[in-house]
Structure formats: C-alpha cells, structure tokens
C-alpha cells in the first residue's frame, strides 16, 4: 500500500514534467482560462443588445418622431427610416430584426381618441432578440404615446405596479453568468482532452507499456495521470476565477469558493477518468478526436451552462441528470451565484462522485488490455 502511494507520487511528478515539456498544451490551458474566458463572456450575448430597428413612417408627425428617437442603445441601434415597399426585403435579408409601421394620421387619430394601431414586425428567426425585444419596444412605444397624450389630457396612472427584482444578479449582467460557466466548460474540455491525449500519446510512444512491465499497476498509472493533470487544471481554474473573473471582469462571487473547489476536484476526477475511458475505445489520436467532438459538444450544450436546462424536453433533462457536467453546472450555479446551503445541494456531489468512480473503475479495467493490444 505504501509502495502504491509512493509510486503514484513519483508518476505524478513525471506527469507534471511531461506537461511542462508540452508547450502547446500549456499555451492551450493558459489561453483557455484567460483570453477565452474574457472573449466568450464579452462576446456571447443572448440578451437584446444593439438590435436593429427600421421604421416605415407614413405619419411623419411629432409623435412618430418621438417614438423613433426613444428607441436607443444599448438595447437598440439608431432607428433606420425605410419606405413601406422595402419592409419585406429588409426582413428577408435580415437587415432589420424589427420593422415598425406607423400608419398615416397616427398622431391625429391618437389625439382624437380613435385608437389607431401601430404595427411591430418581428423577424422571429432571430430568437435571441425577437421575444424580449418586442416586449421592450411595446413598452417604449406605449410610454411615448402615453406621455404625448398626457400633455393634452389627464390620464389615470395604472394603479397596480409590478416591481420585478432580480436576486443574485440585480442588473442581470450576462458576464456574471457566462464568465463562470466558461470556466466550467473549459474544465470539461481540457480535462477530457488532456487525459485522453496523454494516455494515447504514451501508448503510441510505448512508454505506458514499458511502465507496465515494471512494478507499476494500471490503477497507479490512471490515478497519477488524473491527479497530476487534474491538479494543474484545478489550480488554473481557481486562478482564473479569482484573477480573471473576479478581478478583471469584476464579477462578485457571492458563494463559497471552498465548496466550489471541492466540487471541481470531484468533477475533474470524473471527466478525466471519462477522457481516459474514451481513449481506450479508440486506436489513434485521430479517432479520439472524431469521437470526442460530438461527445464534448453534447456535454457542453446540454449541461445548462449555455441555455437553461428547463427548456429541454423532459426525457432529455432526465437523461442529462446522469451526466456529470449537468450536475456540476447545477452545483456551481447554486454555490457560486446563490450561495446555497450545502445540505440542499449535496446530491449533485454524490452523483458526480459516483460517475467518477464508475468511469475510473472502467478505465483501469480497460487500460492494460488496450495498451498491450497490438496496433
């Protein structure tokens, strides 16, 4: 037993030396936890931002002018005036997501109490802006019309006010979400690629096989690979959270970082073991790449780190609950954003640990046969 611990430690040191000698992987890790976090969290926006609005104004009145000037950045771009005949073409080619049609005599009819109709055309193939943008536009128009009419007559203010308050992220700043989620996504991507590529490279170079004729077991080998590479990733991820996310991007991390780290350790153990398991199913680095691309993308897209998991079909939600990435995303959102108490979220950790145990056992079981299989 003592020999085993010592062997794992020695192999860990060897593993770290190997990683140090691989500049491409080091650059990839550094890039993934710095620039990639910043660019993705600044660039990936599902909110209404800089949406393009065109206006076909057949009224050309003071009121229609007020509506046009009320539509402002950051939600919208400056309104573009177009002719009614251009509406279809503008929408077909996607030059505008929203086109407002203000009918002739709109102002006059409004003041005369004729309740004229203003039309908002929405390109509903631009889903990220269409729904919420349409509501925003309605509010802006309603407000402008109300204010304009209020000058001439006394209007009763609505007597029931709905005050929405967002918890945990009062200004609904998307960077708070995407930056931390990107850290998690990068843990997933790097863990799987790093561990899988490491065993495949060692197999191709014959070094694993060489270790297996020495007093080293598959168990020690697999464990040392996971521990060494995993600790690098955990440290990089933690530094990224503290320096890039908190310090540079200014995201307050309300929850317990300690619990997050414990979850992350369990998680990377699980996905690293998964990476090794995937590697043992392939015969070469190229095959590993082809196998990993669809699996990784599914794990990222369906884990709830990009869009809410609630919008998936029920059967898929149920299936994804078995995948460690989904569990870790739920766990991380609860600890980092909502500072949830551990007793309410420990089941996530249990599932991650169980999946890690299963992946690890399977990969240890497969490793010897896979390494020695003639290529």
């Amino acid at each position: 037993m003592r020999a085993s611990v010592a062997n794992v430690l020695r192999l860990c040191i060897k593993e770290l030396r190997s990683l140090r000698a691989d500049p491409v992987m080091l650059v990839l890790i550094a890039w993934a936890f710095t620039f990639s976090i910043v660019t993705v969290s600044k660039g990936m926006k599902f909110e209404v931002s800089q949406a393009s609005v065109a206006l076909a104004d057949e009224d050309q009145s003071v009121l229609s002018g007020r509506i046009a000037t009320a539509i402002q950045p950051p939600y919208f771009r400056q309104v573009r005036q177009i002719a009614v005949s251009d509406i279809d073409r503008s929408m077909d080619l996607g030059t505008s997501v929203f086109v407002l049609e203000i009918p002739p005599r709109f102002e006059a009819d409004t003041l005369a109490g004729n309740h004229p109709k203003i039309q908002i055309n929405v390109d509903a193939t631009a889903m990220s802006q269409a729904g919420n943008g349409a509501v925003l536009l309605q509010n802006i128009i309603a407000r402008e019309v109300r204010n304009y009419v209020a000058r001439s007559s006394a209007v009763v203010p609505p007597n029931v006010g709905f005050v929405t308050r967002a918890r945990y992220n009062p200004n609904l700043d998307a960077v708070w979400f995407t930056s931390t989620m990107q850290v998690i996504n990068n843990i997933t991507i790097l863990s799987i690629i790093l561990s899988g590529a490491a065993v495949i490279r060692e197999r191709e170079q014959g070094t694993i096989e060489h270790l297996l004729v020495m007093p080293v077991t598959s168990f020690e080998l697999t464990l040392s690979k996971i521990l060494a590479n995993g600790s690098v990733i955990i440290v990089a991820a933690l530094l990224s959270l503290l320096l890039v996310v908190r310090l540079f991007l200014g995201v307050p991390l309300q929850g317990s970082l300690g619990w997050f780290v414990i979850g992350a350790i369990l998680y990377q153990f699980s996905v690293m073991a998964f990476g090794i398991l995937l590697a043992t199913l392939t015969a070469s680095m190229a095959q590993f790449g082809l196998l990993v691309i669809p699996i990784l993308m599914s794990m990222l897209l369906l884990s709830g780190s990009i869009t809410p998991i609630e919008s998936m079909p029920a059967w898929m939600q149920a299936a994804m609950q078995l995948v460690p990435s989904t569990q870790f995303v739920s766990f991380a959102q609860a600890t980092l954003y909502r500072a949830a108490r551990l007793d309410t979220i420990w089941h996530h950790l249990m599932i991650i640990a169980a999946s890690g145990g299963a992946f690890f056992t399977l990969s240890v079981f497969r490793l010897h046969g896979w390494v020695t299989k003639s290529q």
Partner: protein
Amino acid sequence: MKTEALSPVISFAGVHHRYRKAAALHNVSLAIPSGGMRGLIGPDGVGKSTFLALAAGVKKLQTGRVEVLGGSMRESSHRRACLQRIAYMPQGLGRNLYPTLSVFENLDYFGRLFGQGPDERRMRIDNLLTSTGLEAFANRPAGKLSGGMKQKLSLCSALIHDPDLLILDEPTTGVDPLSRRQFWELIERIRLRRPQMTVVAATAYMEEANRFDWLAVMDSGAVIAVGTPQQIKEQAGATSLDEAFIRLLPDDRRKEHSDVRIPPRSVLPGPPAIEATGLTKRFGTFVAVDNVSFRIERGEIFGFLGSNGCGKSTTMRMLTGLLPATSGEASVLGRPVASEDMAIRRRVGYMSQSFSLYRELTVLQNLELHAAIFELPTPTRGPRVAELLDRFGLKDDAESYPEGLPLGLRQRLQLAVAVLHKPEILILDEPTSGVDPIARDRFWQYLAELSRDDGVTVFLSTHFMNEAERCDRISLMHAGKVLAIGTPSELVAARGATDLDAAFVGYLEDAAGARGTSTVGGTGIASPLAKTPEAQPRNPSLFNLRRLWACARRESLEVLRDPIRMAFALLGPIILLMAFGFGISFDVDRLPFAAYDFDRSYESRELLASFEGSRYFERRSDIADEAQMEERLARGEISLVVEVPAGFGRDLQAERPVEVAVWIDGAMPFRAETIRSYVTGLSGRWQSQHAALHGELPAAEIGVRFRYNQTFRSPVATVPGIIMLMLMLIPAIMSALTVVKERETGSIANFRSTPVTKLEFLIGKQLPYIVLSLAGFAVLLLLARLVFGVSVTGSSATLAVGVVIYVFATTAFGLLISTITRTQLAAIVATPIIAIVPAMNFSGMLTPVSSLTPFTRLLGLSFPAAWFQYISVGTFSKALGFADLWPMHVVLAGFAAAYLSLAMLLLPKQES
C-alpha cells in the same frame, strides 16, 4: 535510348541536403552507370534514403545538380516526363500501400494513376500477381499480408507501368531470409525480360550487397567507396563487406570499434530462467504464436531469429506478462507468469522494439524515475545511476533529451534502464535494429559482459544473422512457429548448409512445403513474367479524369472501411443536431414559480391564477416565510416568487395604488430577462383587462406580428443555423484528415512519384466527402422535420444547389487545413477552432448579423458559413428562392475555388 545506355542513369554533382540542423548529404558527386543492379550500402541514417528520393524526384533538390535519365531534375517538365519512366519504392514495409485495400485494389489504383484502361490494367495485374505468386491473395487486405508479401506487392505496384529506372529504398529490411532471396530472384527475372531497366537499391544487409554488380558505400552523408563488391573488398583489404565497411571508415570513427569477444559460458545451477510450453496467442482468428515451447538456461544468451511479424515480439510480451497467453504455460525464474506479479517484474529487465522511454525527460531523469519505481534504496540510487551513466558511456549526455541523441546512444540508454535494478533476466526485443555496425558491436560487448560476468540471462530477438551467430543458442521462428532450436553451429550442421542464412532458408522452405500453400507466397516456382506489351509512356497531361477517379475511388473505399470515420460522418450530424437543437433553445417554458401571498383575498387569488394559467409558468407550493423563500430560490427549486402585499384586494377595490413584487432568480441572466418580459406582458394584459372593466382603452394599440415563425418556436430559428454549422464542421473535419493522414502513414509518396496532378489528387479526395456530406444533409433534413417539426418553406432546389456548393467549399477548406498541418491531431484540433467561432458567432446563428460590429461582421463574411446561413434561413424559414438568394450561391462558389486553389498552391508535389 542508346546515348542513355552509355551515359550514367543518375548523376549527382556537388549535392548538399540538410534537414533543419542536420546534414543528410554532404557534397555528394556520384554517377551511377545505367543498366544492371546498382546498390547503395551503409547503415541507417547515412543519407541513402535522401539520395534515392532526390534521384526519384520526390524530394526537392536544395543545392547541387541531379541528372536522371538524361535530364535535370530541377526542370519540372523533365520531372513530369520522368514520373512515367521511374518507379520508386520508399522505405518501410509496405509504407506506400493502403492497408485496408485488397492486393488487387492496391494494384488497380496504381494502374489507374498511370492512366491505364480497364483491359490493360486487368492484364497487367494478372501477370504481376501470377509471377509473384500473389494471385491466391488477391482479395486479402494489404495490411494483413506478411512482411515478405507486402514487399512483393509494393514491387508489383512499382512495376505496373514498365519503368526504365526502378529505385528501391531498403526493400528487404525486416523480411525473412527466404522472402528476401525470393524478392531478389523476382527482380532478376524481371530484368531478364526488360534488360534495359536499371535497378538502384539501398540495403543495410551487407550479404545482400554481394549480389549487386556495382556498389556505392555511404557513411555520414558522403560516398566513401565505389566499385564492384570485389573491388571494394580488395580496396579495404577485407574478406567480407561488413569488415570492409568498418575498414573504410575514417580513423576516428574506426577507433571506437573493437571486435566482439564472448567468453565461453559456464553452466549455472538452478531452475531454467525461462520456460515456455505450448505457448499460443490468438488475436481473433489470427494465430500470432502457435504452440511454442523452449527453455532458456541461466546465464545463457538466447536469440530469437525471424522476420517482422513472425511472433517474436508477441512471445516476448507474453513472457513479460504484458499479454495473457491464449493457451500454454510460461514460467520465469521458476514461477508461472502472471500480469500482476510484482515480485517477478523486479527480477526482469525489458527493452521493447522501439524507443519507449520518456522523450520529455532527460537521460538522467529517465534513469532516476526508473530507480525510484524499482524502489532502489535511496542512498544507493545516486551511485547506481552514476555507475550506469559511466558504464554505458552516457555521462556526457546525462542532461540531454533522448530525442536529439543518435539511435545508438538511445539504445544504450534503454539497456541502462533495463539493467538498472540488476535483473536476473533481460528480455530485449530487436535491440539493435537500425543501429550502425560499430554501435551494434559495442552493444553486444555490453551483453557479453552482462551474461558472462554478472550471470544475467539474455533473451533477445534479431533479424541479423551475424548477431544470431553470437548467441549461445538460437531459435528460428516463422509464422508463429518455432522451426528449430539449437546452437548456431548445430543448426548449420543439421541442414548441411554453408552458413546460418542458408540453414534458415532451408528450414523455411521445409515449413512452406509442409503447409502446402505457403504464407510466404510464390516459393520460387512462380511462372516467369508473361510478355505483356510495353506500356506506352503516355503524354503526361495536366488533367486526366481517370486519375482523378482513381483517387476518388481509393478514398471512398478507405472511408467505407473505417467504421469510426463513417460513424462520425453519419451519426455525428444526428447527435450534434440533437445537442444543438435542444441545447440552444430560447424557449423558456414551465418556469416554476411560487406565491408569497400576504393577502389571500379573492383579488390576489385571481392575480395568481393569471400567472398559473400562462404556459410560461408552473405553480409550486406556496411560500410560508422569508427564510423558505431564500432557501427555495437558492436551491434553484423555483425561478420566481410573486409577492402579493397585505391589503391588495382592499386597495384594488378602493383604486389606491398597490405594488406587487416579483422576485426573479437572476443567476442566469437570459432566463431572468425572459421571465421579466413575460411578467411585463402578463401584467400589461392583466391591467388592460382591469382598465377595460372600467371603460378605458389605451390611446393607441400596438400590434406585434412575428414573421417567419408565427408560433415563435426556437427550432424554426435555430435548426437552419445548426444545419449550416454541421455542414461546415463535419465535412471540413473529415477532409482535413485526408492529406495529412497520407503524410503520416507515408502513402503520400505515391502522390509524389506518380503522374497524378495536384488538382486530380485534391478533387479526388474531396468527392467522397461531398457525397457523404450530402447523405448527412439528407439525414439532417429528415430529423429536422421529424424531431423538430422544421421543414423547407421556400425553394427546395435553391437549398439543394446551395448545399452542394457549400459542402464543396467546406471540404475544400478542410483540404486546405490538411495541406498545412503536420499531424492528424493538429488538423482535427485546428479545424473546429478556426471554423466554429465565425460560423457560430458571426454568421447570424446566435446574434443577428445586423447587431454585429463592422469588424465582426466582416470576419463572418470572410467565411462561407455566413453566406450559406442566408440560403439556409431563407429557404427553411423565410420562403425564399433563387431570385432572392442567387448572389450567395455565386459567393460560395468563389470560396470553393479560392480554398482549392490555395490548397493546390500549398501542396508541394515534391517533398522538401
């Protein structure tokens, strides 16, 4: 032809060639007379391969002059003409063959590359197969042939176009002696039929070189002697070429050499070191090791002799416990072999066929790591490592990385690691292959000392006869069987042969005869080559459909036989469409909410019911107190809380302003914003209902019309974008693996040495992936309809034409990546990294293009994805057709042409 017969067939003048820092050829001037058998001899790494590749025109000349077949190899027109007259067989067993293609398909491909018609091909292939004895194996995949058969097949493919100059780079390395003999006999027969053909071959076997009628001896990038074998031996005053070679070396190199002396063995007591009884290993139906038995005494040097793939390595791996035996028994040091027996591992040292130590650790670090793993007591570690560095002459290189060391030094390092823990047994798998004679002799000196001084049992494999002769006993292996065991002299005597080589051939012939049909193939009784009409050197045209089709056909056969690539091409789109389709969804439905109702009046219940009635919200149990609200929101059990204040109903009745607080979980901002706009919409409706009850109408009505997607479902918007992404990603990754794969396996040599042009080669590679991508698209179309309920509303023809042009462009993009990357891994990593960001972020898939900054917009437009997105969204969701979208098709075609031209520009026909 006459003038050529007099002038040299190949002449080099002042040729230098360098690879990065290392010089491969140093001022080589050499004229090889035409006609006959010309040999190039010398150990590995002296520049033979570079010389031959330059002569064949497959490698780009750096400095100096090379003339072949009466013209300069600097002129591309002469090179092109030469491709029809030269045949080049690169080094490595069957490295230019396609392992998943059958023998016939391989030859058929080469025939097509030379533009031969079906009848001509059929006749030539039949002739070559019968004359080499391969006809019985016409349908066997090339990868499953024995080493000797692979070499014959390689030779057939070289001869398919009746070349005037046949260039063979170490054609017999690693092949058993019988196959080797047959190979040269075959060449003799071909030369009888076509005496005008010159054969230039490199070899590391000095005994083979004796057959050639002219030799050039090379060392360290220079030619050190030229002449007939007899002349060379006389010049050096030696009796054998091996000896002559060492004598011809410069003094300082020769000094390192001393003759190997192995003292006689004294018998050591105790059980045998290794004993195998009926050892058998099967891989599926293939029997790698067949009922092998032997016994190795302590302190003995026991040699395993045989060709590549005869089962030597497999037997050794079973003895180390790496591979479990299918049946039979093996014991090491009196204990049965078990893979988990750590005690035995400490008493055995192993050295595998290829270098298997850590390249990223220095010589010293490698030794230290192994000292630690073998748990040498800490105080002895340092001295032991120092002792080994000293003994194996590694002291000066202790801080170097193995990668940069010469092969001989690396081999010594491996031996040092193998003996580090003072094992009683050494198992060495081809420890000296590829090492020059001086280094080999030095290595043997170490082995002799270990065996005779330290009493270590040495079990090694080799395919060098002169090494076999040094062993105490040897065992001849062939096709998984042990043919004979004994001391070298016993074996020679038993066959009544002149030397060990002849004895081995005798045993092999017996084995082949005993088995009826031989696995060796063509046991020397094959019919002489039938007369086939001379292949007419065709005008090397710049474009030939037959050659293009040859490439396309071959690529298709390979893909169809690779289950992982097929699965990626056909299942990949399905998995990814599901992942993206469900993963990127803007539909926020059934949001769990809870009421925190302080009022509990009729009015408050009515308000909460309006939330409950919406399809967006789903009511959970009410909230009792503040702490519970905190806890349930934090846990993520509910996404929003509607807090109705006390007195809500009363105030509403009295038309006093009241305020309802809605608490939203803001952890996921997009979802929170959607919730907020749902709440805004719901409250607006609720208020106007209330206002209407009081007879008030809003000043103006605001109508919202969702176009193209009236039901406002996410898939209608996302699926066309996902299809755009899939048709970018998958075809590009598939084609990105093609060229670089050939470069890795070595079959790219065929592109360089045959008349196929860049355009034919690239389009040929592209076609199968275009077809596969179209099949993938059909699957996507079906899934879009069945799973996501999205179908084409516009012109299907417009979409179809667009898809064809688009996958043409995306596969061309993949080819471009493939021509500039060095490894398949790099290609597979680079392609998605380059492709995904512009396709996903800057093409309108997630963010509408009208909201991009001018820079990111331009970035998107400089990639085909953004243009196809117009066609995809236009035809699927916006009911558009050619009239609106034709400019996009034109731009896409431009991308396809540009990528292909760039790939052609960056794919050199010659290796640099």
